[in-house]
Every structure is written in C-alpha cells, then in structure tokens.
Symmetry: D2
C-alpha cells in the first residue's frame, strides 16, 4: 500500500510550469570525453564526471548502445559488455529537488562511419518478449544489419540480409537516452524510460529542441547516450540505426517549478511525454499533461484545451519495445493563445 509516492503531482494542481526557453548568457563550454571505462548503465546517484553551471554548454560524446562493440559482419552480442552505456553523470550547480532542468539540444553529430541495427529474440514490438512472453515452437534468430553513413549526403544505407536490396535513409540524429537521477531513491537501468526521462527513444530529442526534466536530487545528475542516426516510429524491431554521437547541450534551470513528466518545446510546438504501459496509459499521461500545460501556460480552460487538442493535437508513439512505452503528445503554438 502507499500514499505519499506521487503525492506532489496529485495534490497540487497539475504542473503550472511556464517554460521560458531563453538563451543563457554565461556560455562557458565544458568538454568531456566518455570511454568504455567511464560509462554507466544506470540512471541513479553516482559520482559526477563533471560539473556545469546553468548556462554552461557541454561538448561530449556517447558510445553507441552496444558500447561500440559490433563493428563488422560476424560480430555477435557476446562482445557487448552492457546495453545503452551512458555518458555522465553531470552535476548541474544549484539544481535542487523541485526544480526543472532545461536542456537545450544545440547540436548532434553522428560520431562514426556506420550504424548498427539488430534483432534480439525476446525484444521487439511484434514478437514474444520478456514482458509479453508467448509459448512458441522456436524463437526467431538473432540478426545484425550494418548501415554505412554518408556524412556529406546525410544518409545511412539499409542493406537487406536475405536479398540484394539496399536503400538510403535520411539522417535524423537524436539521443535515445537522456535523463536524470530518479526520485524516491530509485536507480533505473539505462534500458528504462520513466518520469526521469531515460531511454525515451524520442526523435524529438534532436538539435533545435529544448527538453524539460524534473530535478529529483541535488545537482540533477544528468546522463545521455544511445545515439540514433534515424529511427522509425515505435522502434518496432527493437533498434534504431545505432551510432556513437557527439552532442552539444546547454543547461538551464527553472527554480521552484517541477515538471512531473518530461516535456519538450521548440519555436513551433509544445510537447508532453507520457511513459508507461500499455500505450493507452502513455497516451493518457501525455494528454493530461498537455491539457494542464495549455491551461496553465496559455489560459484556455481545460475543456477548451481538450476540445482543441481533439481537432489539432498530434500523437507520436516513439517506442513500444522498452520496459515502458513512450508517447509524445504535441500541439503547434500557432493554435494557442499568447503565453500567459
């Protein structure tokens, strides 16, 4: 039984977060280079690898989700030390529980010449899995695809394994993992997305967008990793085009205002994440958050906001393969009144 766990978000009116994605003035740049020796596999409390002030910019790299272990045909999962190695944690000065961490995603560049796609038995959206197990005669086999990257043409190339077909896919670099230490003393695997962000596999975590995350511990303890060169909705076979990444991120804080769930924003849209299972509940979380945001931030009544979203809202199911599923609900700002 419980009563306190979610008390804040339930007893208070749903977050009245009024985002101001202003450009910070203090733009000191912190450089950090992650290696297999320094990565983490859990979103939780750990010794910071670096400290940044609000306004600071971070230039850092991430390994791919296999720790860069799969390099050529014949390589197998036995070479992989752990999934989704995370760069971090980074301690953000002055971040305290109850604040919101603002992450401006300034730039993302694929850090290598190829990407990797895999199918692992027991993981995926339309095969038997750990959490949706099925009796079956024989499991589907493990598979690995390699995707040459053309940086100039900004494409990756899919090469079929069972036929002689290949096709180019436009690059859309984003971070599959981005998050902070969870609340309530929890530590979560880098496979898991939840209230703290984590393995959201959201293409919205791309250059030009701003991410809002709840601060649950002093310093926030920010992590990122799991770079993707491109991905389909739902990441249905369980992988994107998995790549090492170079990231340029700028941090800021919203003091004394707490976002219950991750949110995103850019010039054109506001976006609320819902993260759970089944997808139905992820949708419910995302839209109750978006209604609350529109009501608190733009002044429409809750029912007017609900109606307007029923006419122009968007739903993006980013992944349906991780331990929790992720939905991003959004609305274009052109449909909203001026911000309060």
């Amino acid at each position: 039984m419980r009563v306190h766990f979610f008390a804040l978000s339930l007893i208070l009116p749903i977050s009245t977060l009024a985002q101001t994605p202003s450009v910070p003035s203090k733009s000191e740049v912190v450089q950090y280079h992650a290696t297999l020796d320094t990565v983490k596999y859990v979103f939780g409390v750990a010794s910071p690898v670096a400290r940044l002030k609000p306004g600071n910019i971070l230039d850092a790299n991430s390994l791919d989700c296999f720790g860069n272990a799969l390099q050529k045909p014949g390589d197998t999962f036995a070479l992989v030390k752990g999934d989704n190695p995370l760069t971090g944690p980074f301690y953000i000065e002055d971040a305290e529980p109850g604040d919101t961490l603002i992450v401006h995603i300034l730039d993302l560049q694929v850090d290598g010449q190829q990407g990797v796609g895999t199918f692992s038995p027991g993981f995926g959206a339309i095969n038997a899995t750990h959490y949706t197990p099925m009796l079956e005669k024989e499991a589907l086999p493990e598979k690995i695809w390699f995707y040459p990257i053309d940086h100039a043409g900004r494409t990756a190339t899919f090469q079929a394994l069972d036929s002689n077909y290949q096709v180019k896919i436009p690059l859309h670099p984003f971070l599959g993992c981005i998050g902070v230490a969870p609340a309530n003393g929890e530590a979560r695997s880098s496979i898991v997305p939840a209230e703290f962000g984590g393995n959201m596999d959201a293409p919205e975590v791309s250059a030009g967008n701003t991410l809002y995350l709840p601060v649950n511990v002093s310093g926030a303890l920010f992590y990122f990793g799991d770079g993707h060169a491109a991905m389909g909705d739902g990441e249905i076979a369980g992988s994107a085009i998995e790549v090492p990444m170079k990231a340029r991120l700028q941090f800021d804080l919203l003091k004394g205002k707490h976002t219950g769930w991750p949110r995103l924003e850019n010039e054109k849209e506001i976006m609320a994440a819902g993260i759970y299972r089944p997808v139905d509940d992820a949708v419910r979380i995302a839209f109750t958050e978006l209604v609350a945001w529109i009501h608190a931030g733009y002044g429409l009544s809750e029912l007017d906001a609900y109606e307007l979203l029923s006419k122009v809202g968007k739903i993006h199911l980013t992944e349906m393969v991780d331990p929790n599923y992720v939905v991003i609900a959004s609305i274009e700002k052109k449909y909203l009144p001026p911000k309060k």
Copy 2:
C-alpha cells in the same frame, strides 16, 4: 471455445494481397442522396439503396454524425436521433466473400457552412468512459462547439467556450465511417471499427487514397458516413469537426484475394490498419500486416521488412475513443524494392 473463427487468416500465410490501384475504365456515375429517412446505424446486411458495377463511380452525400441535428448554441444531444448515420448500403456487383473491395476516394467536399465538436460525458480518451469506467465525484459536463467553415480559405474556426479566443484550422476532409457488412453474420454499430472497416476515424480516408476492405457477403454492402472537416490524432475528446459530406468514390474488386484487415495505398505509401484494444494490440496487428504485405508484395524477407520498418516505419493512432482503437502503420514506397 472456438477454432474456425479466424482460421483463414491464421492457417494460410498472411495475406498475399498484391494491390493494383489501377484506374477502372468503366466510369459510369451513380448518384445517390441520403436523408435521415434512409440512413442506417449498423454495418450489416440490409437492402441495398443502389447497385454499382466494378469501375463505377458513386456520387453521394452523408449526414454528419448527429444526423445534422445540432445547428446552433442551445441545441442539445436530446435532438440527436442516432449516432453516425450511414449512407448505404451499396451493392457491388460480382463482389463475393473472399474478394477484396477497392475504394478509390476521388473527392470529398464538406457539405455545409459549419462543423460541430462535442464533449459527451463517458466518451473520450482522458476521461472516465463506458469501457474504462472510474468512480468519480461528478462527471464532466456536456459541451458543444460550433466551427464556421470558410470554403474559400479552406479553414474551420475554433471558438473557445470559456474565453474569447478563436483560431483557424486548415480543412482536411475525410470519412470517419467507411466499411462493409462484417463476416460471420455479425452486425456492428456504426460506432465500432473492426476488421470490416467501420468507424475507423482515419484521416487517411481522404481524397487521393485507395482503401482495401475485405468482402464478407455477396455484394460487399458498402456504407460510409461521419464526415470530418479536420481532426487531431486520437480524436481524444471524442469528436472531430463533424460535418455533412459530399463524396465521390470509385469501386473496384480484387477477385479471390482477401485482406484480413483494412489497408490503404497512394502514390507514395502503403498503409495497414490495426484495430483493437489496447493500442498495443492495434499496433501489433498493423505491423504484422505491414510486414506480411512487404514480404508478399515487395519480396523482402520478414525479418528484413521488420528491420526496415524499425528504421523508417510510421505509426498513426487515428482514434483512441471508439469501442476499438485504430492504428495505421505505413511505409513510404521509396524505401521498398519494386513491386513483385
């Protein structure tokens, strides 16, 4: 207990439907005018209102989902005779169980000067409903919004009820209801989407797209209705911009090939519908169908198709409010090998 119900789709290899959305040569035009006296409220076997040959074009109208009963502020749901009145059924000559009905959506025009949006307690994606009931202190109130249509500017205007805000929304006319008589002797309310199509609330059912439906009874018995001038993903408050519609549709048949679930196609994409609850299962249906389509129609192995979809596939959750939920999974043809 059962064994036969779904035997066809399970024992045979998943549909090898190879769509050929060719333009029919015999383009006789059948005119039909629906009124409140001739509409139906059930997808099932009923006397046809007209007969068409494959290749024929149908010009017909549909009433809005309230039978055009809500016209001005102060009107209430008490005026509504039935939900989603359907135009039809139309008997398609030569259509037999085991065939696929091809519906080319040639043109859709909003048939009136305003649209209607409503919130009804017990219906919606983020409030207590008939199938997801909740104890609550008091239900949310019934609400009606009217949307003036600007045909020249191709917009509808949202006017908030609780504040003085209004904004224009671009028109995207489509049919919320489109389907045939169900299999197994069933008859389903016009509120329900399922294998036979029905209340899919899919914006993909718009001019320029071709819809494939399974034929379950002689003549197929085609129905349509529930025109929408525009709609957000998920139709989350339970309504789109509800309008009467004028539709121009052309029919064709794929003899001896049966689509298990509705599919759509246009110049650029192939699209498979998955229709059930929870959303997770709708996604599973849509993507197993799309993998099967790519495998049978374009020659990729199932695992290569799965991998490619994980990189470039799209998911559209069209509605999460009707008795079943609807997902459209799609891939752009530019990513596929030549059709077999």
Copy 3:
C-alpha cells in the same frame, strides 16, 4: 464520433437494480431438443424456436462447441461446421427493452460419455493470436485431447498426449455461452462475450446460481450453448472440457429495471461481470458495477463499498482467450448490510 450509444448507463446513476431472486409460481415446463440443423452461430434477432412465459421452465440440450463433430483420435477441425452452436433463440413473453431477464440455472448435466479439449494455433492466452499477433518462426501445432466422463464418480480424465500420464478432474458443469440479442441492432458471433452475455465462459453459470441479463429487444431472444464439464481460470489454452449439455433453466423478469452488464447471484454472493480488453478494463467495469450494486441495493456509500471490497472482494478472471475478456467481481452477502 458518438454520443448516444451508452447514454442510458452514463447519464442515469449507475444501475439501481434491486434483485429479487424469488421462486416463480407458474412452473410450466417447455421441452426443446436442439440439433445441428436448428442451432445458430450468432447472438442476434432470429425466429424463436419456442416461447416461454415468465416463471416457465426450459428443458433443453446444447451441442458441444464443435457441434459434436470431434469424437475420436484422428478427427480434425475440418469436420467442424461452426464454433459454439447455440440452442435458441427462446422468446420470453412480456420481456421488453429496459427490462432485466432473470435466468435461474436449476440443473446442468453433461450429455455424453466424453469431453474434448483442443489447442488451435492463433487462439489462446499465452500464444500468438488473431488480436495479439506476433511474428514467429512456426506456429504451434493443432492438438486434440479426449476426456472420458465418469458420471457416477463425477470426474473427467485428462490423458497426456506426449507421455503416459493421466489424472482425474472433478466435474463442474456450466454453460460457456448464455445470452440474449444485443442492443443497438447488433448481432455478435457466438465466440464473443459482451454486455448481452454471450461467450462468457464463466463457471459461475452453474446450477444454483441466478443470472441477470439486459433485455434489448422484445422477447429478449435467449440463447445458450458451449457446455463445459470443467475449466481452469482463464481457459488459457482456449478450451474447457467441451461437452454437450442438458440444461434446466427457469426464467423471470424484472420489469423496468435494466442491468448494464450481466450480474449473478446466489444464496451467498452477489457477482458483477466486466467484459472487455485489456483485463484491466474488465476489472474496472466489474467493480464499478459491484460498487453501484452495493450502494443501490444495500445502502453503503460508494466509498464505504469501495473500501469494503478492497478488504473482502473477489476477482475471477474466467477467460482471457475470446475476443473480449471476462472478469467476475464478487462479495459474500455475509459482509453486507441487509438488502434495502
């Protein structure tokens, strides 16, 4: 879009049904013998096979869910004409929409010397199915088990197919299918359970219990079938011990009171059915109905009823294999105040 479909149950306070399972005085007995030529495969409007007055008793038989087609090792599903053949419909005089049909289950006797259990690919709780499809390398094979019935000892015997093991299982005869014509002009396959009852596969539908069903059309149009000699919770492999049955049922009416969902009652318990997917929603339906029943029938406040159920309520997941899933929520009457 819709508004009226479920209006009754939503706008009115949740059913105030105050059941009175009194013993009717007029106990005329109607005999009826069903054969493969007279059975139906759909719950819907059809010509009645007999008419009964409230208080009358029906003595009738049902075929097993395979139409008695599987009789010995080597028989295959190809012999089966249709699933869940239904005995009926029976027209109940004076039953009108808005009433509740009361069915006293007086006696059930297995009508044969053996039962049948089957596994069909695509049907079951822990394998890939029509509505939860999965990519798989190869489907599990079709299987049939025969269960000799010992009427004197009241057991059926399980004989393993892949080893030399057998064990006796106590008989608990019940009707897998029991229901009436659906509302809204719908007709539903005999595979489907829903608001009208149908393929609930509920062991609670056994001798000594009383079932309440909503009347949706004049005469109610009552059907039954799919006898089970015994069944595990969830009917997880997709079948019970399937048998022909002899049933003795007595009908009564509750005029002018409508049960939204099937309910059951006996000397010791009141029981409310919730029928939908996922199981979570079936549980929500069953318990909101049970809270409403306790509140309206026994006078506890809704929150006191909720609390009491949290301490002594029972949940029975009867099946998780049909197109909808079925949960029976119950409470022993000894925990309730006197009936109002």
Copy 4:
C-alpha cells in the same frame, strides 16, 4: 535499444528450477527489531542490518505501511514519513547472483490492536491515478478507516464511515512487501513489485508457504514489510487492513539455479508470479513460467501442461493498484505427475 538486459532468461531454456522445500537442519534463530530509524524505503543495495546463514530462522517485526503513523480518527497522511517502510536488508551468507533464495514463511502475527485502511486520491483500481490519469471535475476525497483487531476471535472489524454498519472480517495475515535487491544495479521504491519480489501484495505470502526469489547481488539483501491482516483480491481501493507484523522466516538457498520471477509452493500447490502491466501481460508471464515449471519439474510436455492448466489452473489477481500489477498462477500438485 538493448540486447543483454534479459538475456539469461531468454537464451537459456526457461528456468529448470526443481524446488526442494526441505526443512533445514541448522535452525539458529536471529532476532531483529525494526524501528522508524532503521527502516528503508527502497529495495536495493544497503548496509545489512543482520546476517543469516542458510537454514537460519529470522524473528523480526515490521512497521505498518504508514510507519505506524495513523493511530486514531483525525490523523492525516501528513503524519506519514514514507510508504511501506521495509525491515532489512538481511545478508544471506553464500547467496550469489544466479542462485535462488528460499524463504519459508513459518509464522506471521499481527503486531497490534488495530489495522488501518485508506483511500488516497490518485491511487486505486477504479479511480483516476498517476499512471491512468483522467480529467475530472474534482478528485474523490481522502479517507481513513480503522479496524479493531480481535486476536482471540481472529477477526478485524470494518466500520462504515458514512453509515452505522459494521462487520467482522477473518484475519489472514501476510506480508505485502517481500523481496531482494534487484538485478542490473537497479533500486526500486518499496511501492513497486517486479522480478525481485517487492510490493507483491500477495496473500500467498502467508504462514505455511515457501517463496522463491532470484538472487541478484551477493548476500541477496532480503527485505520485508507492509503487513496485511486481510485483503480483498486486487486490493482495489489501494489498501489492505494495514498492520505492523511479527514474522518468523527461515532461509535456504538453491545454488546455481535462478528463478526469473518469484515462485511459491506449499504442500498442495505450485504457484508462479507474473508482475507487470497490463494485467494481460502479468497473466502471460505467470502462465509461461508455470508451464515451464511443470515441464521442467514434472515432465509433462509444454502443450500437455498448457492443456492441463486450461482445465484446472487457477489465477489470482493479487493487486491492480501498484506501479506493476501482480498475478499468481497456480495448480494443485494432485493434478501433476511425480516430481522428476
């Protein structure tokens, strides 16, 4: 993306655990007294409060789920320091990752004169919650019920808040929380049930039963708490009759065999837990585990085991209110062949 996370349970044949709940010979008794100063709120790695050898018996107490803070009418949740305070962790000598921890529940005694039941807005099975949020006009109010315990009569008494009704409920003492440190470096709130056990709220965790838990870290790090005097299926309003508890537990180890999910056993039954959302997936986990157990431990083929469970298996939905839901699937041993 990921590949390794669940690799063990997926690549190996599903656990071949062959339980031997023998009585250990070394029955040294370790006494421990928990207080509000020593309890934990997370299942994770922490300094052990005591060490036990396999075979040892632990005599220890637990606080109630509110830390014993709610004692009389007028007390409010503001007095509660944290939910589900845990006694522990206890270090079990010789326990290593890959082993199974065996916990014999020898005795449980309610440690006080009253129990507490509560309703908290945002928590429950049939009201809007943190993970199934709903727009609503106003949240249901917070409520607290007190249950006097009659130790001699072995009952607790429900007293309605809104009327003058009271009724006695038989005691069935069990531990709502019981578990070990999670795998993969995770730490989980004491509100959460998962593979490591945790807040399973399973009445099967009662005197006379044996629990099997996976060992994920050296010493296993065992915790327990959240005593319940009695509880209804599903714990639907979010609480049981919450009590402090005195527990007598005996530990043993199964070296080199790992249970993927918690299992239980007594003289009469074997029981497998499935823990996730939606309930459908919890059922799938529980039954795939139980089929595997029967196959590996008792020699039936997987399909024979599936069939037999479809005839005599039991499903217990223990709770549908915590962040994950819990199902216990079971079969009586009398239906099984001799253990291999």
